[in-house]
Amino acid sequence: MSHMTNPLATPDQLFQRRSYGALPIELQDAIFFATQCLTQAAGILLELPQSVTAQANVLLARYWLVEPPMSHEFSDVSAATLYLVAKLSPTPRSPRDLSNTYFYLLSPHTSFFRPPNSPPPPPPPPTAPPASASPSHLPTESTYLRFHTRLLHLEAHILHALSFNTHAALPHPLAITYLQALDFLHVRKETVARTTIQYLNAALLSPQMLYLTHQPNALAVAAVYNAARDVGAKMPECEWWEVFDVEREELGFLVVGMRSLVGWGAQMRRELDEMTGGKGGMVRRRDVEAELGRRGIRVGNGEGDGGGGPEGSGLDAEEEMARRMDEKMAEVEMAS
């Protein structure tokens, strides 16, 4: 049965999220959205199957309900979950590959989270860099070593926070099975199946954390329902979702949750764009801190829940210094 069930978040955990280090909930949502997108992008560049990347998304969402997001750099958490899940899957990826990929995704070269009108990105060869690749596409050896150390540290940290439970059941196979049971609603198999999977993948990014509050069967039914409506397929007259053990209430909630993602995603991107100062790209901790400064909220380095630990500040004094200076610059720019 464990292949079809997931551990779910407790109401306490969901509630507690609102109290993390005074970080406003909309900022947390934006960080969540950006980081999950980053994981997906990295998964594609690393040629990982979506089943692996999606599991990494789920683990990351769980981790951030146990540990406040500000205690580690977001991209590092994304890399560590992806590394961990890939390691346990039939398709492991080396720390070197991850380092290259994330370095690229965080560099100014990528199209990741850039406005569509920006100059086209250079061809990305992140995993198998030819000798001629410009050096700025690849991390230096010391950057790689620091990334690797952070990766291993975070891996253990995440496992500790999740009690070493890396199990994440995905609704995707169930959704296909349900579609088969429904005879693909007598429309083209490919269309309705693709739309269903798209809904499920998009739901991974939802700030409502649908994968942590609902079991895979409910997610699958909701995605099938949405897809059927989108392609205009005729659903059975009866309450067919009950066959798959989903209540109408639950289905309604999920259906709306999944449908609302489109508008919400666009809004998030605008917000993220603002936060990164119009430069685009992945949001970083210093961006969030600067944003908080603009709003007049002071927040320590994850000290809100004592989960930050010394590694965030002590590990890399140089980077910390650079971060401070960036913040200062941002403040100066604000003032002028």
Partner: protein, 477 residues
């Protein structure tokens, strides 16, 4: 999951467990419902939006919440009957629809090892240290298995250890050792000490077999084998290959219960089996011939072979096939089970290491199986079962489930009731166990042994001479 062919007593126990489980599930259901209500309240805003859209769209035409007050206006569906006939888990008594609720538990940080008080060391194996400990809060005695971590390993935490944890977490069977939780050392800034909290089981089968003056009775062998088969069947039903079944990994408590332990080699597989599995699995003496011959695609039948080896060991108190190295192991297998032919193992010639294999001709004296002669005291059904388990062709071995239905378990003497099982002085209880001479399971990352053509022709030409000399000498070294 307990077998059907169990004694009445065992069945009763299983029933009681099932009942308790059902009750628990019911309570859990209640809890989840209450939780959901709270959660939904916290998200009133989103819910209102949901209601608005649902009503606007007008696509919902049913009412399934007979057991809770309607939160908003709804139409009553006329399609009730059709739903009842098709829905899974319809509650026949009241007509109210009862949906299955899945409980996956919750997640959260793991506890500290300081919650346990260490009593004594038990064993140091290839994959970690095991010690006996007492939970301070409850006084319950457990076994703490420390995961071996190499801090210099730049790959991070060992994947075998993580797999073992995940599989033990997923398993719940009376013949599989239970993991209660995972705890870590107090210094959580650096996770170096990881302990698996396992149920404490007094003995391992290996040391019992070594120390017992008389072999197990036939009825006792049946009980043990039946429990082993039932545990292995459970694992295989859940897509787990153990890949290191041997007597030192089988634990026995003082109530006669056998538990499969040590999942350091185990992994999840699918159907069809993954194409490239490592051949470096299973301790040599329990390794199936297809693994020795280099098959990269293998099935649950490799565990069944190990079960066969354990069966033989239970009967004689000696490991059945104590090869000194891969080639020797293979020679011993052929001596016991016969030389593979196109009849007994059609796919055999296609295996990577079989090409260079020069086998004695069909006329050779020892081309047939000698299982019958090696176990003169075993009943015909017993011999049939053992020969089946040790069939050279993996496709001809019975599955663990099929094995449970074998006539051997129904014949007299019947399997002994677990409660009537003899007890043994505990070694794990007090003194440190000595290290076993059993070879360890192959380590990860070793190169697979390539049995060269040279090796084989040499061994087998020697073997032919040996045959002419007067049959196989199978005295143990």
């Amino acid at each position: 999951m307990a077998s059907k062919s169990k004694s009445r007593w065992a069945d009763d126990e299983a029933d009681a467990a099932l009942e308790a489980q059902l009750k628990k599930a019911k309570e859990e259901k209640k809890r989840i419902k209450a939780e959901k209500l709270r959660k939904l309240e916290a998200e009133t805003h989103a819910r209102e939006a949901a209601a608005a859209v649902a009503v606007a769209a007008g696509t919902h035409e049913g009412d399934n919440s007979a057991n809770e007050p309607p939160a908003k206006r709804r139409r009553i569906s006329p399609a009730r009957e059709t739903v009842q006939t098709t829905a899974a888990g319809v509650d026949g008594s009241g007509g109210a629809l009862q949906l299955l609720r899945f409980d996956g538990g919750t997640f959260g940080r793991c506890r500290s090892v300081e919650n346990y008080d260490k009593l004594n060391d038990i064993e140091e194996g290839a994959y970690g240290w095991v010690s006996r400990a007492k939970e301070i809060a409850t006084g319950k005695v457990v076994a703490l298995k420390r995961l071996k971590i190499d801090p210099k390993d730049r790959g991070g935490l060992p994947v075998t250890g993580l797999r073992e944890i995940q599989m033990l977490k997923d398993c719940d069977h009376r013949n599989v050792v239970k993991m209660r939780e995972v705890v870590v050392g107090d210094d959580t800034s650096k996770i170096e000490n990881i302990f698996l909290v396992l149920e404490f089981v007094e003995h391992d089968l290996k040391s019992i077999l070594e120390d017992m003056p008389e072999p197990f009775l036939a009825s006792e062998v049946k009980t043990l084998l039946q429990q082993l088969a039932s545990g292995v069947a459970y694992l295989h039903d859940n897509w787990i290959l153990h890949r290191d079944l041997k007597t030192s990994n089988l634990l026995l408590n003082n109530r006669g219960q056998l538990k499969i332990a040590d999942f350091g080699m185990a992994r999840y597989v699918g159907d069809p089996p993954p194409a490239k599995l490592t051949q470096l699995v299973v301790t040599l003496w329990y390794r199936a011939p297809e693994l020795l011959l280099g098959a990269a695609r293998y099935t649950a039948a490799i565990d069944v072979w190990s079960v066969g080896c354990i069966f033989g060991e239970l009967l004689t108190r000696e490991p059945l096939l104590q090869g000194r190295h891969e080639v020797d192991e293979l020679a011993r297998i052929f001596a016991l089970c016969g030389i593979p032919t196109d009849d007994t193992w059609p796919a055999f010639r296609r295996l990577p290491n079989a090409r260079g294999l020069r086998l004695p001709g069909k006329t050779a004296a020892a081309s047939g199986a000698t299982i019958r002669t090696r176990f003169p005291l075993l009943t015909a059904a017993g011999v049939a079962l053992l020969s089946g388990l040790l069939a050279l062709d993996p496709d001809r071995r019975p599955t663990a489930r099929e094995m449970l239905a074998h006539e051997y378990f129904r014949q007299d003497p019947k399997p002994k009731q677990e409660a009537m099982f003899p007890t043994f002085p505990s070694k794990a209880g007090q003194e440190r166990r000595r290290r076993r001479e059993t070879p360890n399971a192959p380590a990860r990352g070793q190169a697979a042994v390539d049995l060269g053509a040279v090796d084989f022709s040499g061994i087998f030409s020697g073997r032919e001479k040996e045959e002419r000399g007067g049959g196989f000498s199978l005295r143990m070294v």
